[in-house]
């Protein structure tokens, strides 16, 4: 890159005809798994118990199959292992295995009583970084519709567990009534679709003689890349502008020399994985709000609302959109609903970028695709799944250490995208199907707004391979992740402003 760029600038204009570098088009087929019904059709009268029931009903067969394979004809000290249907059917002294949902009883978890104390006293205790209690008061329990069983044993220290994952545990009940585990199994990675499987399936359904069209599809999509960025945290004033402008220039192909621009031309799509707008001002405590008299103001109340971040973000996207399609996921600080799955940010928030979004009610995704958080899609045939970071950050609070990739791997192996929902993570009370259960293994799994960039490849029992990507916060690290869609290799582009200190 350096040689080319060194000659590219500071030269007199030449007569050389440069060819226009074109951007590789992206083959994009999003899934709408996390779309919720709108308006009247969305009910909140149901309780969250349905969600746990649905999760268990879906994942219990999978985990029992694995457990049967592993422990079916196992004999320990002359006693064979028996399968038990319900958690309460375990008998003292008998070696057996049972499947159920894990529940972590942690006294430091957020408690409704903290909210009440906020009303009575001036300040609530600050939110904790981790829910693990230092004195070992945490208890792990196994639960199903019949009851709960306390778990103890060495596998608990070796394996990561959070509330909501489905496991099969083998062991025996001791005199105290605790279930001592000898071994445990998780559902592990589900079936992974082949590359192009869903696109081929839909094309085959659409036209019987789909073969010639398929070849066209495959040949066109060679050598493309996808850019992932997260945590732009635009707050409309000072410090954002320079690194953000560098990012814009890089992606539109205005920066650097010919060689880099050729590379940038291969980037077919930008995925913004949450937290694009900096967290807003916290709401005033209730007492203050009541005292304030509603004064007549035309337009909006500037004390309560600051439009600058949204305008700046809109400008950012509107500069990029003519050249590159964008997929926008909402994050924790974005103007979308708080509970998972976060619904797409409304295009009305972005008056300039709105022109690139699809018409309301149309099935085709637009050039600007505002999507849900979590989200999955087929890009260039590969199944990509990702979220804005909330489920992973919540799992972080339950376990010791900061091994984000381990947590991501475990999310996939538990086959649940957000196991701690609805316990400590706000979510919609699903009644027909727990959408967070991962039914088809993705090829790429990314999580946004993480403290540092990390990546790894994990493997599954039936040959699945998943590329895990932890996308760092752009505001803090200035890093953009590039994912090569042929080899699923990852590289980083770092934008930094030279600080003369």
């Amino acid at each position: 890159m350096e040689d080319d760029d060194a000659d590219a600038f500071l030269r007199p204009p030449s007569d050389e005809k440069y060819s226009v570098i074109e951007r590789t088009p992206s083959s994009y087929n999003p899934l709408h798994s996390f779309d919720l019904a709108k308006g009247d059709q969305k009910h909140y009268q149901q309780q969250y118990g349905d969600m746990y029931f649905l999760r268990l009903a879906k994942l219990k067969p999978a985990v029992e199959e694995l457990a049967e394979e592993a422990w079916g004809d196992l004999e320990i000290a002359g006693e064979s292992v028996r399968r038990v249907d319900r958690v309460l059917d375990v008998r003292q002294g008998e070696l057996c295995w049972v499947a159920g949902t894990v529940y972590m009883d942690m006294p430091l978890k957020p408690n409704i009583l903290d909210d009440i104390s906020k009303d009575h006293w001036i300040a609530a205790p600050p939110p904790r970084e981790k829910y693990i209690s230092p004195s070992g008061q945490d208890q792990t329990m196994l639960e199903d519709e019949s009851g709960r069983l306390r778990l103890i044993g060495t596998p608990l220290q070796m394996n990561m567990l959070v509330t909501g994952c489905i496991i099969a545990a083998m062991g025996t009940e001791n005199a105290n009534g605790d279930f001592e585990i000898i071994d445990m199994k998780v559902p592990d990675l589900p079936r992974q679709p082949q590359r192009w499987e869903r696109d081929e399936g839909s094309v085959a359904l659409a036209n019987g003689d789909g073969k010639s069209k398929l070849k066209e599809h495959k040949e066109r999509r060679e050598g493309s890349k996808v850019a992932l960025v997260s945590g732009l945290c635009i707050n409309g004033d000072e410090g954002d502008t320079l690194t953000l402008d560098l990012l814009m220039e890089y992606l539109t192909g205005e920066a650097c020399g010919q060689a880099t621009q050729q590379d940038v031309g291969k980037i077919s799509r930008l995925i913004i994985a949450g937290n694009s707008i900096a967290e807003g001002n916290p709401l005033h405590p209730r007492a203050e709000l009541l005292d304030k008299k509603p004064s007549k103001k035309y337009g909006y109340d500037s004390a309560a609302y600051n439009p600058a971040p949204t305008i700046r973000f809109d400008d950012f996207m509107a500069t990029l959109l003519p050249s590159i399609p964008i997929t926008l996921l909402p994050g924790e600080g974005d103007p979308a609903n708080v509970s998972l799955p976060q619904q797409p940010m409304h295009p009305a928030l972005f008056p300039r970028s709105r022109n690139y979004a699809s018409e309301p009610g149309s099935a085709e995704p637009g050039w600007l695709d505002s999507v849900t958080n979590p989200w999955e899609a087929d890009i260039d045939g590969w199944r990509i799944m990702g979220n804005g970071g909330q489920p992973l950050d919540d799992v972080f609070k339950y376990v010791e250490g900061n091994e984000r990739l381990d947590m991501m791997e475990n999310l996939l192996r538990w086959r649940c995208g957000a196991p701690t929902a609805p316990d400590t993570l706000w979510c919609y009370p699903f009644q027909d199907k727990d959408q967070f259960v991962i039914e088809e293994c993705p090829h790429v799994y990314f999580v946004g707004s993480q403290p540092a960039f990390e990546t790894a490849v994990i493997e599954g029992p039936t040959g699945q391979t998943v590329r895990l990507i932890a996308v760092p916060k752009f505001k803090e690290t200035g890093e953009l992740v590039l994912l090569d869609m042929d080899t699923l290799e990852v590289e980083i582009v770092k934008f930094e402003v030279f600080n003369d200190k």
């Binding site: 009247d40 909140y44 309780q47």
Partner: protein
């Protein structure tokens, strides 16, 4: 008391008989049994008695939803004071009916048609099998029709999930979709009750109790 365990599926799931050679295959229209119409006015006074007994056993749900309180002022103007929960669940049933009529017409009609054809004798045989599994007869259920007893037993079968906040028909279909094989006799009873226009059989009895407790306890 933990819910009664289901025995092996061969016993609980009765087989459906088709074909001309099967002796028990009678596609007769179900007659409204006279006993149930007599007992329906009776169920109200007896249900109040059993109310007191059941209220002691049922526990108030741990997550008191703030929604009923918020919706109360808006619903106060209604002439028929229906609690917001029953209203929402009724909306769910109507939306379910609309949905099922639009999308899953073939599927839903298929299994419901099957259920409609199930004769009374099969339903009674199913219930007799359930009663024979117990050591002692059921208490506080003297005034209930057999249909109501079957539906309440289905409500309390926790292997199909919680019975609160979801209409019975939808719960049955959800269990069927998850592969839990709920007994088709229950669907037959639900379809019959719906045919009779019995709105009270739509949602679980427990749901009605809890809803009335929440809205009544001002």
């Amino acid at each position: 008391m933990p819910p009664t365990r289901r025995k092996t599926s061969t016993r609980a799931q009765s087989t459906l008989a088709f074909g001309p050679n099967s002796s028990s295959n009678k596609v007769t229209k179900p007659l409204a049994p006279p006993s149930s119409t007599k007992k329906s006015p009776k169920t109200k006074p007896t249900s109040k008695k059993s109310d007191a007994a059941l209220l002691d056993e049922t526990s108030v749900p741990s997550t008191p939803s703030p929604a009923p309180e918020e919706e109360k002022p808006s619903l106060a103007e209604k002439t028929v004071p229906e609690s917001p929960r029953t209203l929402a669940i009724r909306n769910q049933t109507t939306s379910l009916q609309e949905k099922s009529s639009k999308r899953e017409e073939i599927k839903a009609d298929g299994v419901e048609e099957l259920a409609r054809k199930i004769p009374e004798t099969q339903i009674r045989k199913y219930w007799k099998n359930k009663e024979d599994e117990r050591i002692a007869p059921r208490v506080h259920q003297g005034g209930l029709s057999i249909n109501e007893k079957i539906l309440r037993h289905f409500d309390l079968s926790s292997q199909y999930g919680p019975c609160i906040g979801i209409p019975r028909l939808r719960r049955w279909k959800r269990a069927e979709g998850l592969g839990l094989k709920p007994p088709i006799e229950v669907l037959a009873v639900l379809v019959r009750e719906e045919g009779k226009g019995n709105k009270g059989a739509e949602k679980a009895f427990m749901d009605g109790l809890l809803a009335s407790r929440l809205s009544g306890g001002d």
